[in-house]
Amino acid sequence: MVLAVRGLCKRFGGIDAVADVSFEVAAGEMLALIGPNGAGKTTCFNMLDGQLKPDSGRILLGSVDTTGMTPRRIWRAGVGRTFQITETYASMTVRENVQMVLLSHRRRLMSFRHRAADLYAAEAMELLERVGMADQAERGCGVLAYGDLKRVELAMALASRPRLLLMDEPTAGMAPGERAALMQLVADIVRERNAAALFTEHDMDVVFAYATRIVVLDRGRLIASGPPKAVRDNPHVQQVYLGAP
């Protein structure tokens, strides 16, 4: 088991943003977290990556209890993250962006010695090759097209060799063709590395094409989970989110 979430709760004022949510993610899985706006998907994500502390419940990453840890420690424990709005370093080149993460992951960042641009260059190029960005390695991140930035961000997330990839709306703002290509890439990488991905997504075509399992939230509560077909046929899910077929 890569990730186990048990009885996770978070209240904002009098509102249960996330109430008693439990699910698990196994190695090799692509788990989609879906639900209407305000269902608690982002709150859930922010607790998993450490930006929010849960009120109760536990988060287990493999055998490590990461509940309430800081984002940095959770990242070191093996959780890679991509953001809904891409977060890269605009003044650095594509290759330097990936090198930055490789250096940070190996705790080799706080040093004055050596030229950083020479360190882990080959490894950074390998990762960029994998996401199809090797030919643009020397370009500045600030000039890239949005779809390309998403690939760079994925390479950066992979640089820390995560066991779990957390992706908040990985295909938001992309053209339909790009969406399929990016999700296929993620699916291939997850399989290759025997890792797991947990993603939120509003595009149901993407969800049903690439998720191996789906968890549905509504008003903070888990209302259904299972393989895509079972979730699609669930009357409750159809009623609150998917609409009647």
Binding site: A90, S91, S111, F112, R115, V143
Partner: protein, 288 residues
């Protein structure tokens, strides 16, 4: 070293400003554009002046003490402003600089408004050249080092940097300490050349010069601000033959560079200048 006559003070002040600018460049690399450069320079000057004049310290240890004072105060200021960004951060460094000037003004031991005088003349042309080369070397090494990478990451995107395991606190404190140490050492060298340290030279009006050097030269590569500091320090002197028009010409040069090279004199990549602009991508011009 040989005498340079008319050129000697111009060369010395150009190189002193280059040292200050190198320090400011390092501080700014992690996204903290300090508005207190002149204040740190003044602090370095006071420390070294007092130690040599009143306590008979030799020159080198006095410079080292000035640099140490800069590192400590720079580190404290960075720790104080760790949660601040952008405008508030700049205003706080500005207030810090002004406060330091007022404090110096009110300490009779430091000479008050008249400043601290009677400082021994130590700084020679050779010292300045060696110090400038050292400052360039340190800034250059820092720029390309892993800490330099971490600094740029923190400046470009603090959220992503912390998600990638970079400590914003450590990075910002280290850059501010190193930058301020260099500036204070430069201030000490200046004090032993000018032979006077006054509170008025610590104010924002003087700090602004270094920000002009930084923006004029461009924040993308170290060589831009360094070149700008030398060019712009020398420009008013070289233009002296135009008498009262020289300041107008100085302003004109700055305006022309801002118009033609908005990202600064030197940029990192041809054609991708503005996208690599560390001050953030510019919004598209609605008129074009």
């Amino acid at each position: 070293m040989a005498s340079f006559g008319f050129w000697e003070p111009i060369i010395i002040f150009s190189l002193l400003n280059l040292i200050f600018t190198a320090g400011l460049y390092i501080t700014a690399l992690s996204g903290q554009l300090s508005m207190a450069t002149a204040a740190f320079g003044g602090i370095g000057g006071y420390v070294s002046a007092v130690l040599t004049t009143n306590f008979d310290w030799p020159f080198l240890p006095a410079i080292a003490a000035a640099a140490l004072a800069g590192a400590v105060l720079g580190g404290l200021l960075a720790a104080l402003t760790i949660r601040m960004r952008d405008f508030i951060l700049k205003l706080t460094t500005l207030a810090f600089g002004e406060a330091m000037a007022v404090i110096a003004f009110n300490i009779p031991y430091l000479g008050g408004a008249n400043g601290f005088s009677g400082i021994p003349l130590y700084t020679t042309m050779t010292d300045i050249v060696i110090a400038a080369l050292l400052a360039i070397y340190i800034a250059w090494r820092f720029d390309g080092s892993r800490l330099g990478f971490a600094s740029r990451a923190v400046r470009d995107d603090p959220l992503a940097a912390s998600a990638n395991g970079v400590s914003i606190r450590q990075t910002r404190i280290i850059t501010f300490m190193l930058g301020s140490a260099i500036i204070c050492a430069g201030g000490a060298l200046a004090a032993h050349y000018v032979l006077l340290v006054t509170p008025s030279q610590m104010g924002f009006y003087y700090s602004l010069n270094y920000i002009i050097f930084l923006l004029f030269g461009g924040l993308q590569v170290l060589w831009g601000p360094l070149l700008a500091s030398v060019l712009l320090t020398a420009a008013p002197e070289v233009l002296r033959f135009t008498s009262e028009y020289r300041l107008i010409l100085y302003g004109l040069i700055i305006v022309m560079v801002v118009l033609w090279r908005p990202d600064g004199l030197l940029t990192r990549k041809k054609g991708e200048g503005s996208a690599l602009n560390p001050l953030g991508p510019r919004a598209p011009d609605p008129l074009t």
